[in-house]
C-alpha cells in the first residue's frame, strides 16, 4: 500500500488575518516588543497548526520548518565553525538564504531541530518525519565553496550525524536528509557513500530517507540507489528525466515519488499522478513507497498547498484501489 508524505517545509502564513499571526509576532519581536519566549509560543502554535493540517491528508507529516529562517543558516548558525553572511538566492527559487562563512572546524554543540520535532510529534496523530539539510548541500552553499566542499561536507556529516542521533534518541522513527545540491552535480561526490554512513550512524531502528529536489538525477540513479538510505526521494517535476531513467530500472529501494508540483499553483489531475506511479508496479516496492510533492510546499500559498495535499491523497487512494 503506497503511503503519502511531504518533503518538509509548509507555508507558515495564510492570507487570513489569523493566518498571519507569526508574521506579526516576528515583526514585533524585531522591534523588541515581544520576548523570545512569547515569539516561541506563537511559533509553536503555528507549528502545531501546520502539522495537524498536513496530517489530515498525508500519512507522514513534518514540522513544516516554521521556525527556520532558511534551510542553510538554520543549521550553520547553530553549529560551531560558521559565521552568517549576506543574502543569496536559494537555488533557482525566489527565496533567499543567509550564506554561512566557514571560520574553523565544524562541530555540533547541541540539538538544532529536536525541540521542534518533539512539539510537532506531540501535536500529530501520526508519526512525524524529522528533516535536516544535508552536509553536501550545506557545504556547497557556504561561501568559498569550490575549495572546501569535500572537507567541509565531511565535518558537517559528523555534526549532522549527532543531530540525527539526537532525533532518534528523542523518539523520531523517520529521518530525512535533504540534498538538493546533488541535483546539480555531474557525478555523486567522491566519498558520499561514506558521508551517508557517518550521517546514519545513530539511525538505530528509524527509517531514513535521502531527498533530492530542484532538478533531475537520472544520471546518478544507480549510485543513489546503492546508498544506505531506506528511501530515495526524487523530484519528478523539475527532474522529469529522472522518471524516464527510473523506468529502465528494477530496485528494492523504496521511492518517494515527488510527482505533485510544489512550485506551481496549477493543480494536477490525481488520475494522471496515480497512473505514473502504477507504471512502476513490479519494478519498485510500491507497498512501502511514498507519494509526495516535488519539494517543500512553502513555495506555494497556504490554500494551494492544502489543495496539493488533497490531490496527493486522492492519487494515493487511486493507486491503492488499483493495487488491491
Amino acid at each position: 500500500m503506497v503511503h503519502t508524505t511531504v518533503v518538509g517545509s509548509y507555508p507558515r502564513v495564510s492570507d487570513a488575518p489569523e493566518g498571519q499571526r507569526l508574521r506579526r509576532a516576528i515583526a514585533r519581536w524585531e522591534r523588541h516588543e515581544l520576548t523570545d519566549s512569547a515569539l516561541r509560543d506563537v511559533q509553536m502554535d503555528v507549528l502545531r497548526e501546520v502539522v495537524k493540517e498536513q496530517a489530515r491528508f498525508v500519512d507522514l507529516p513534518a514540522d513544516g520548518q516554521v521556525t527556520w529562517y532558511d534551510p542553510v543558516s538554520h543549521f550553520a548558525a547553530k553549529l560551531e565553525g560558521f559565521e552568517i553572511g549576506g543574502l543569496l538566492r536559494y537555488f533557482d527559487t525566489n527565496t533567499y538564504y543567509r550564506q554561512p562563512r566557514p571560520k574553523g572546524k565544524v562541530r555540533w554543540t547541541g540539538a538544532i531541530t529536536v525541540d521542534d520535532w518533539m512539539a510537532a510529534s506531540a501535536a500529530s496523530p501520526a508519526p512525524v518525519k524529522a528533516v535536516v539539510t544535508g552536509p553536501y548541500t550545506l557545504a556547497v552553499l557556504s561561501a568559498g565553496a569550490a575549495s572546501h566542499v569535500p572537507d567541509l561536507a565531511w565535518e558537517l556529516a559528523v555534526a549532522l550525524g549527532h543531530e540525527l542521533g539526537n532525533l532518534v534518541h528523542a523518539g523520531a522513527t523517520h529521518l530525512q536528509v535533504d540534498e538538493p545540491a546533488l541535483a546539480g552535480a555531474k557525478a555523486l561526490p567522491k566519498g558520499y557513500d561514506e558521508i551517508a554512513k557517518v550521517l546514519l550512524e545513530g539511525q538505530g531502528r528509524a527509517r531514513s530517507s535521502l531527498f533530492i529536489y530542484f532538478g533531475g538525477v537520472g544520471h546518478l540513479l544507480p549510485e543513489l540507489l546503492d546508498l544506505p538510505f531506506d528511501v530515495l526521494g526524487l523530484d519528478f517535476v523539475q527532474g522529469a528525466g529522472t522518471l524516464a531513467a527510473l523506468r529502465t530500472m528494477q530496485t528494492e529501494k523504496q521511492i518517494a515519488f515527488g510527482l505533485v508540483d510544489a512550485r506551481n499553483t496549477r493543480l494536477e489531475d490525481p488520475k494522471v499522478i496515480a497512473k505514473a506511479v502504477l507504471g512502476f508496479e513490479g519494478r519498485v516496492p510500491l507497498e512501502d513507497s511514498y507519494l509526495c510533492p516535488s519539494n517543500g510546499l512553502e513555495y506555494l500559498p497556504r490554500s494551494r498547498a492544502r489543495e496539493k495535499l488533497k490531490v496527493l491523497a486522492e492519487a494515493a487512494r487511486l493507486v491503492r484501489e488499483a493495487s488491491a
Binding site: G86, R89, L300, R302
Partner: protein, 326 residues
C-alpha cells in the same frame, strides 16, 4: 564631463505608519480609494522632500502606491491575477501573482504617479519598472507553460510602459531584474533578449538593478544588457563583488551603480565604512561612471533608518569627492 559620484536610490522607500495603516484598512474595505490616494500622494511628497533635503542627484518617487514590485504590476496588467502570500525570505512575504492568460497592456501603470512626483521637484525623477524576467520568474505561470514565451510576452508589455514613461518625459528609466541570475546557464540569453525588447526605440537612459544572487555566474555576460547603468548590491558582499573586475574590467561604455548601504540591517553604517567602500570601487571604475546608492530598495527599513542611512551615504560620497578635490 559628467558629475562624479552621482547619488540616487534603488526605488522603494519605507511607508510611513499612517499610509501602512490606511493600506491595511483599504484592503479591508474601511478606507475609500480617494482617501488612500490622498495619503499615498502625501507620503510620496514626503519622500521627494527627503531626497531634496539630503541632496540626492536623481530621485525616485518611493513606490508608496506599490505593495510589491511584482504584485503591483500584476494588479494592473491584463493576463495576470493577484495571488496569495508566499514567503520571500526571513519574515518578508508577497502576494505572488499568477499568469492566467495572454499578457497585455491596456493603459499606463506607472505614469500617473511618476508625473505627480516629477511635478514636485526640479530634480530628475526615475521611472521605475520591474523587468520581464523577474516579473515572470516571481509569478506562477498557469498559461504559457514556456518560460521563453512568458518572458518575451512580458517584455512586450514592459516595453509599452517604458514608452509611456519616456513620452511623459522620464529621462531615466530603471528596469529592475533581481531574478536575472536565477538560471544563468539556461536563461541568461533570454533575459538579455527581453531587455532588448524593453528598451528598443525608447528615448531614455536605462538603468538596471540586480541583487542577491550569484553575480559571478552572469559576469561579464551582464555587460551585454543594453542599459547605461548596472547596479549591484556590493555592500551585501562587503564589496567582494569588486573582485569580478580583476578578471574582466567593467565595460567603459557603462556606468556602475555601487550599492554601499545594507538594506537588511537596522544598524546604520559608519560614514567611514561607506567611504572606504567607495574608495575600493574607484580603483576599478572612475568617479564619473560611478553612482552611489543603497544595495536595494529601502522599504524593509523604518522611515527613521532610511533617513539615517541615506544621510550617511551622502556624507560618505561628499567626503570622497572632497578627497578627490572635486
Amino acid at each position: 564631463m559628467k558629475h562624479p559620484l552621482r547619488t540616487t536610490t534603488v526605488g522603494s522607500f519605507a511607508k510611513p505608519d499612517y499610509l501602512q495603516r490606511a493600506r491595511n484598512r483599504h484592503a479591508a474595505g474601511k478606507v475609500a480609494d480617494e482617501e488612500l490616494d490622498r495619503l499615498t500622494r502625501q507620503a510620496t511628497r514626503e519622500v521627494v522632500e527627503l531626497q531634496e533635503h539630503l541632496g540626492l542627484d536623481v530621485f525616485v518617487h518611493g513606490e508608496m502606491e506599490r505593495g510589491d514590485m511584482v504584485a503591483y504590476f500584476a494588479e494592473h496588467m491584463p493576463g495576470m491575477r493577484t495571488g496569495e502570500l508566499v514567503r520571500s525570505y526571513g519574515n518578508r512575504f508577497y502576494h505572488k501573482p499568477i499568469i492566467v492568460d495572454e499578457l497585455g497592456w491596456d493603459e499606463a501603470m506607472t505614469v500617473d504617479m511618476w508625473r505627480y512626483a516629477q511635478g514636485l521637484t526640479k530634480w530628475p525623477m526615475k521611472g521605475m519598472l520591474t523587468g520581464p524576467y523577474t516579473m515572470v520568474e516571481w509569478s506562477f505561470d498557469e498559461h504559457y507553460g514556456s518560460r521563453k514565451e512568458a518572458v518575451l510576452g512580458m517584455a512586450r508589455v514592459i516595453h509599452r510602459e517604458a514608452q509611456a514613461l519616456a513620452k511623459a518625459g522620464a529621462r531615466y528609466i530603471q528596469v529592475d531584474e533581481p531574478a536575472i541570475h536565477t538560471r544563468p546557464g539556461e536563461d541568461f540569453d533570454l533575459a538579455v533578449k527581453a531587455m532588448e525588447t524593453v528598451v528598443k526605440g525608447v528615448a531614455a537612459e536605462f538603468h538596471t538593478h540586480i541583487c542577491y544572487g550569484d553575480v559571478s555566474r552572469i559576469y561579464p555576460g551582464m555587460l551585454r544588457l543594453p542599459v547605461k547603468q548596472i547596479h549591484l548590491a556590493f555592500k551585501n558582499t562587503d564589496f567582494g563583488l569588486l573582485k569580478l573586475f580583476d578578471r574582466t574590467p567593467f565595460d567603459k561604455s557603462k556606468e556602475l551603480g555601487l550599492g554601499v548601504i545594507d538594506v537588511h540591517t537596522h544598524t546604520v553604517e559608519p560614514v567611514k565604512d561607506v567611504r572606504v567602500g567607495i574608495g575600493r570601487a574607484l580603483r576599478y571604475v572612475p568617479p564619473e561612471r560611478v553612482w552611489i546608492e543603497p544595495d536595494c530598495g529601502l522599504k524593509t527599513r523604518t522611515p527613521e533608518e532610511v533617513q539615517a542611512k541615506l544621510k550617511v551615504m551622502v556624507e560618505a560620497r561628499n567626503a570622497v569627492l572632497h578627497g578627490l578635490g572635486a
